[in-house]
């Protein structure tokens, strides 16, 4: 019987891998709910892109809800998403904080001058450590953080008009309801 143990262990692994393949075909990897939703956003203090001597931290952004958009010049999807940030997202009226993820600042700035800069302020997370705290999975990602610094909504993948209508507007409406 003990001779069969390695085989049994392996078959369990096979089950797991089969599940993994099936899961990947069934699920868009972007559907995963973030465990950070309704939790306080992780504390961060990051240099401003292009101005490394100035840092922006979580505390300085409290008091007003804002979007935090994870982008990078190496990210192909970000190019597709960018026009949405420049137009529809800006029209929502909240500040958008750019979170430049694992990027070379030079490349990021060149990218922004080519595609336009929709951000109110951009922080640079060069080594991706703050990104780990935020559970960043792949750019682009967008967080909605409320006035108290709590993450209220997260989108993995590019923003589309549909996402704004079906997900972001309801999240904003929920925020507005809470406001005194």
């Amino acid at each position: 019987m003990s001779r069969l143990l390695p085989l049994i262990g392996f078959l369990l692994l096979v089950g797991l891998f089969g599940f993994g393949i099936w899961w990947n075909t069934q699920h868009d990897q972007r559907e995963i709910a973030s465990p950070l939703i309704d939790k306080p956003a992780p504390a961060f203090a990051l240099p401003v892109l292009g101005e490394p001597s100035r840092t922006v931290d979580k505390a300085s952004l409290l008091g007003k809800p804002y979007f935090l958009n994870v982008f990078a010049s190496w990210c192909i999807e970000c190019v597709h998403e960018h026009p949405m940030l420049m137009t529809d997202m800006k029209r929502l009226g909240l500040p958008i904080v750019g979170f430049n993820y694992k990027d070379e600042p030079e490349a990021a700035m060149a990218w922004l001058s080519e595609h336009g800069d929709p951000f109110d302020v951009i922080v640079a997370d060069r080594d991706g450590r703050a990104g780990i705290d935020f559970g960043v999975y792949a750019a682009p990602e967008t967080f909605l953080i409320d006035a108290k610094g709590v993450i209220r909504y997260k989108r993995i993948g590019p923003i589309t008009p549909e996402v704004i209508e079906k997900e972001i507007r309801p999240a904003l409406a929920a925020l507005a309801k809470e406001a005194p």
């Binding site: 390695p6 392996f10 393949i21 990947n24 600042p105």
Partner: protein, 654 residues
């Protein structure tokens, strides 16, 4: 026309692999000498056609044949010739071809250097290798063909990922695969032994040099990969517990257990089932690594293209190869405990304990790597574990291994004497304590550094004491046979590695600074003076190159030239400058200018001072050398089994 020949060569190789996989095994089973004799020519034939396919793909890269989609995707006119060759394995299709290519190097080598083995046994071994070849060749032809045409032909190609445009990358994948794929030989030996039913000691002896060489290559490949990450990724780290790194590390850990278990089985006849199982595990983990990397089941910074069809194919292949071999093991593994009896305090026990530590470590790495997947399966959300998990558990498992290591050579087979062990422990222990106290004076309370020095001296002094003991007690010429010399060199490598890891992890200084030309920053006793930035050019990039002068007590130690490269396709890549030294590395990475319009002004720079970091790779190279050295043991080439092993310590007082 020529790329079609490549595809044709692969198809012929597949047919010959089928012949190699079926006929010799059938012949060995039925005792048919004619079928047995097919093994070597079939292996040679498969080799010739796979080598041809490889040569044709390299030719297509060298001649800018962008009508081949794979060539167009991974190279362009500006890419220098040496990176066009390495671009062959820069993406999925080509690296699968490299896999089969290296499998064939091993098969052909085995066919050539196995004349002293029984023909039926060699037929089975080559047959198993042939079947593995069938699996991979079919995979290439049906899901990952590198010779597919792209018409109309683009005028120029895409680009090889600039991260891969580094000398380390020319070298790292082939060597790593030599190790990975090399475990297929140990695997084939085990399957041949199980099929043959004669679980005699001899097959383990024949398998040992092959296993040692494969393990040594794997060690070198991992060292090269770690070095490349350090030099090229620009973060100054040398190991990231990334799924792809783990995929190569798991077979390595099991390989450590395997080469020790093989020694026990060969010399004493004990633990044969365990040795068989470990060789199945080592190769299974190599295949598993391929699956994890290629199927897209796990996401990784290595970011290979993934495709569920490929994932399904490899999973099916895993089921056949691993499931089949474990089933064979369950049916045919030796039923009774064989070999000479051994006492609780003996070398056999020592090897078993070490084996358990290393296989547990491999299981821990596997679990950590699969954690995100398990999280999905149990509906816990996507959880991943990072370096803290791996680092903590790995140190917990390896600390006892380091503690026990110096005892190994002193333990006698069968029954060891406590007296010799305590004598060794006193010497090495006193040396370790003295060095730790000295280190404590210098390290100023860095506990990890002190522990590292103590651990390394403990291993080093224990190993040295054994070298001295052999020198005194054995006659000239019999002191250090190759196998023992290899063991001693590899164990010394462990001591060097421990120093490197513990000292560089605890004493490194890292600073992100902003420096205007002429300004300097002092780190670890060195002054870094920034002398401005110049423009420079390479074959397919231009760069801003910083000039940083390193001074110590006012005297110039060297000048460093970190670069910020922009490749012709627009990707930006940091080339850090490293001033390497035996006792410290100075590492400078160029950030960005403070003012984008004024490159002659102040820049952000990342400066590191890393004491002893080079010892990490030096230790790895020692381990590799030990593996190669041990494989040269003359006894492995003998057909008969010697009555008495040369490794056995004589029962003389210390």
């Amino acid at each position: 026309m020529i790329p079609e020949l490549g595809q044709f060569a692969l198809a012929l190789a597949l047919l010959l692999a089928l012949v190699q996989g079926v006929l010799p095994i059938l012949g060995a089973w039925r005792g048919n000498a004619a079928l047995i004799a097919v093994a070597r020519p079939a292996a040679a034939g498969q080799g010739i056609f796979v080598f041809t396919a490889m040569a044709i793909l390299i030719h297509a890269f060298l001649h800018y044949d962008f009508s081949v989609a794979y060539v167009a995707d991974n190279s362009n006119l500006a890419l220098p010739w040496y990176y066009r060759i390495t671009a062959v394995w820069g993406a999925h299709e080509g690296s699968m071809l490299l896999w089969v290519f290296i499998l064939n190097i091993w098969s052909v080598a085995l066919a050539a250097f196995s004349r002293h083995l029984p023909p039926a046994f060699v037929a089975r071994v080559l047959g198993v290798l042939g079947l593995i070849g069938v699996g991979f060749l079919a995979f290439i032809l049906f899901t990952s063909n590198p010779f597919l045409r792209e018409l109309p032909m683009p005028a120029d190609g895409g680009d090889l990922n600039p991260v891969l445009q580094d000398p380390g990358m020319t070298f790292h994948p082939p060597v790593l695969y030599m190790g990975y794929v090399g475990f297929s030989v140990a695997f084939a030996f085990s399957i041949a032994a199980l099929l043959g039913g004669g679980m005699e000691q001899a097959w383990v002896r024949w398998a040992r040099p092959w296993t040692n060489v494969a393990w040594a290559f794997l060690t070198l490949g991992i060292v090269a990969g770690s070095w490349w990450a350090y030099a090229e990724l620009g973060w100054g780290g040398w190991w990231f517990w990334d799924p792809v790194e783990n995929a190569s590390f798991m077979p390595w850990l099991v390989g450590v257990a395997l080469i020790h278990a093989q020694a026990v089985t060969e010399k004493r006849g004990s633990l044969p089932a365990w040795t068989v199982l470990l060789s199945l595990f080592a190769f299974s983990l190599s295949l598993l690594g391929t699956f994890l990397v290629r199927s897209g089941v796990l996401t990784s910074v290595h970011a290979f293209a993934s495709d569920p069809r490929r994932g399904l194919y490899i999973l099916g292949f895993l089921i056949v190869v691993i499931g089949g071999s474990l089933l064979l093991y369950a049916i045919r593994a030796p039923k009774v405990a064989t070999g000479k009896p051994f006492a609780p305090l003996s070398r056999e026990t020592g090897v078993m304990v070490a084996n358990l530590l290393f296989t547990t470590a491999a299981a821990m790495v596997l679990l950590g790597t699969l954690f995100p997947l398990i999280g999905d399966a149990l509906n816990l959300g996507r959880i991943s574990v990072g370096p803290p998990y791996f680092g903590f558990l790995f140190v917990m498992l390896m600390a006892p291994a380091v503690l026990l290591l110096p005892f190994g050579p002193y333990l006698r087979w069968g029954r060891a004497e406590g007296r010799q062990l305590t004598a060794m422990a006193w010497r090495a222990g006193v040396a370790a304590v003295i060095c730790a106290v000295v280190a404590a004076v210098f390290a100023q309370g860095h506990l990890r550094a002190i522990a590292g020095v103590a651990g390394a001296v403990w291993v080093g002094a224990g190993t040295l004491a054994y070298i001295v003991k052999r020198w005194r007690e054995m006659p000239r010429g019999r002191r250090y046979p190759a196998e023992m010399a290899g063991m001693l060199v590899a164990h010394t490598g462990v001591a060097i590695f421990v120093i490197g890891v513990m000292l560089s992890e605890s004493l490194s200084v890292e600073r992100d600074v902003r420096l205007a030309p002429g300004q300097s920053q002092s780190i670890g006793g060195y002054d870094f003076r920034f002398d401005g930035v110049e423009e420079t050019e390479g074959p397919n990039w231009r760069a801003d190159e910083g000039i940083v002068t390193i001074l110590r007590d006012g005297a110039t130690v060297g000048t460093m030239h970190p670069q910020k490269r922009t490749y012709s396709r627009g990707q930006v890549q940091t080339e850090s400058a490293i001033d390497a030294g035996l006792f410290r590395d100075i590492y400078v990475a160029l950030g960005e200018p403070m003012d984008a319009n004024d490159v002659q002004g102040a820049w952000a720079l990342r400066l590191y001072h890393k004491p002893f970091v080079r010892w990490i790779w030096l230790g790895g190279l020692f381990m590799m050398a030990g593996g190669f050295l041990a494989a040269c043991e003359r006894r492995f080439r003998a057909k008969k089994i010697a009555a008495e092993s040369t490794l056995e310590p004589k029962a003389t007082p210390a």
